[in-house]
């Protein structure tokens, strides 16, 4: 992926989150205070507005900017989580104008480790990490980078769906106890939107290459 394609992935998240705004809010009404879709749409739209004006070709700087703007726009708990992800991912792709498959694997590994460091959750806690950690597991395997990146998308979806059968132990939803059963976690859902949207852009960049 070149910087232009990387940037259009980051900018594209705004529309994705707007389209899913009401759905994410609905999920959050069962488990939280019902604003997750608003938060994600607002945060990514601010990222879009800033990145569109940037002439930057350093993928690291674009990622860093996305993380900072997102954090500054939303605060909340999702702000620090994703800011930590983007800042730690950005370090791996510093000064790169083009991201090879290996770079992308490194980026997402560092990204997910950044989110986990900040959030301190594990698989099964019914959080955004139920989507991210299966991706990390796949990326750590010794397989061809392209295969890993693509496989991870399916695992992410399974991880997201598995949150329906989990009892929340983190954040506001943890107060629900068993009442959180049966509902898909909104954070895990928006995490899957992010990664699956990356995969769409990633595949497009491959087609362009060929």
């Amino acid at each position: 992926m070149n910087a232009k394609e990387w940037k259009s992935f980051l900018i594209g998240l705004s529309d994705i989150m707007k389209e899913n705004r009401d759905y994410l809010c609905e999920l959050d009404r069962y488990l939280g205070d019902g604003d997750h879709g608003v938060t994600m749409a607002e945060g990514w739209t601010a990222v879009k507005e800033h990145l569109e004006e940037m002439e930057e070709t350093d993928c690291g700087k674009l990622s860093m900017k996305a993380g900072k703007i997102f954090l500054d726009t939303v605060g909340s708990s999702v702000g620090p989580l994703y800011a930590s992800g983007f800042l730690s991912g950005a370090r791996c792709i510093k000064e790169k104008e083009k991201l090879q498959n290996e770079d992308l694997v490194e980026f997402w590994e560092a990204f997910i480790e950044g989110v986990q460091d900040r959030g301190q959750a594990e698989i099964g806690d019914k959080t955004t990490l139920d989507t991210w950690l299966p991706i990390l597991g796949e990326l750590k395997k010794s397989k061809a980078p392209e295969t890993k990146l693509l496989n991870a998308n399916e695992l992410a979806e399974q991880g997201m769906q598995a949150t329906k059968d989990m009892v929340a132990v983190k954040g506001r939803a943890s107060r629900l106890g068993d009442r959180s059963l049966g509902y898909q976690d909104p954070g895990a859902t928006s995490a899957h939107l992010i990664y699956s949207s990356f995969i769409v852009h990633y595949k497009n960049s491959k087609i362009v290459q060929q």
Partner: protein, 334 residues
């Protein structure tokens, strides 16, 4: 639900604009960030600063409590969402006369992350000493012994008040911290929800409660409480809440408490005073004396219906703090 607003996406910034204009003689915004507000400050007086903050929608908490004898600065988040680190750090820097700052916020994951990041920032970049007080007064949110899991609700008013008084008295940071933490450890709260609120941006109620239902122990963002059931009388609800709070507080006959009956947004003063009367009866039956009383909206949840009760166990150190004057846009005490 109907709301008198303009663009739902701009409610927080629109509110701040009006707030700054209405109280321009005592507060001002921080140039570096539009979501950071400070009290008009005399740079001459060197003192420990008190910084508060949290999501919007709880007004008067938190921005209404910036003023003399209260907080020096506030960071304002989106509705029910913690502010990011930048406005918190900018508020700390803007009132930094002594390189010492106390941060006070409720025990929520988002607030902990953002305030801690802000603390790291100013400690590293500005060499400001920061101590954090995390309010966890809601006894309904986790059992005794797991108080680290408890969320912060209306009792934060007392915590802010004690910190503001202690800092205005010129005490050093360790002493301000000790007294504030003492208030934090000696305040217990619990609420009841009757009607949900709706977020301006979605218009949907943030949780479900039938017309004839109430939820005891409901949190300030609609988090579930300990018991959902048919609406009961004020005296029955007071009985349950006072019982649960006292079970936590180890009060004995002749102990003194300061009482706060806090409205959640759409509950009338009539209802709050009826509730206070019940609380007073229950306390006096047990021989617990009321040192001072507060009745009104101190920490709301938009237009949520219901109230919360906070009891602060008093001693000779906390009394002068609670009695100290306060002058802020949404709370004054002589």
């Amino acid at each position: 639900m109907k709301k008198l607003i303009n663009n739902p996406d701009h409610v927080v910034d629109d509110m701040i604009k009006g707030f700054l204009k209405a109280h321009s003689s005592s507060i001002s915004k921080v140039e570096a960030h539009h979501r950071a507000i400070i009290r008009k400050y005399s740079k001459e007086k060197k003192k420990v600063s008190v910084i508060i903050g949290g999501g919007s929608g709880h007004e008067p908490a938190f921005m209404g409590y910036v003023g003399k004898g209260m907080a020096d600065g506030v960071a304002v988040g989106n509705i029910f969402a913690s502010p990011p680190p930048t406005p918190i750090a900018e508020a700390i820097k803007a009132v930094d006369t002594k390189k010492e700052s106390i941060l006070i916020y409720g025990n929520y994951q988002g607030d902990i992350m953002n305030f801690s990041m802000a603390a790291d920032l100013v400690e590293m970049e500005e060499d400001i000493e920061v101590k954090q007080i995390i309010v966890k007064d809601d006894v309904a949110s986790a059992p005794k012994g797991e108080s680290e899991q408890r969320r912060g609700i209306s009792g934060e008013f007392f915590v802010i008040k004690v910190a503001g008084a202690a800092s205005e008295m010129g005490k050093d940071i360790d002493e301000v911290y000790r007294l504030t933490e003492k208030a934090n450890e000696n305040v217990c709260s619990m609420g009841v929800g009757l009607t949900p609120c709706s977020l301006p941006q979605t218009g949907e109620p943030s949780f479900q409660l039938e017309d004839d239902e109430m939820e005891i122990g409901l949190g300030h963002h609609g988090e579930p409480g300990v018991e959902k059931g048919k609406l009961q009388s004020s005296s029955k609800v007071a009985e349950r809440i006072v019982h649960d709070i006292l079970a936590d507080m180890s009060l004995v006959k002749d102990d003194e408490v300061t009482v706060l009956v806090n409205g959640l947004g759409s509950t009338t003063r009539m209802e709050l005073y009826i509730f206070f009367d019940e609380v007073e009866k229950l306390l006096s039956e047990k021989g617990i004396r009321i040192y001072r009383s507060y009745v009104g909206d101190y920490s709301t949840s938009l237009e949520m219906g219901g109230c919360s009760l906070s009891l602060l166990k008093m001693d000779s150190e906390l009394k002068p703090m609670i009695d100290y004057f306060a002058y802020s846009p949404m709370y004054e005490q002589k």
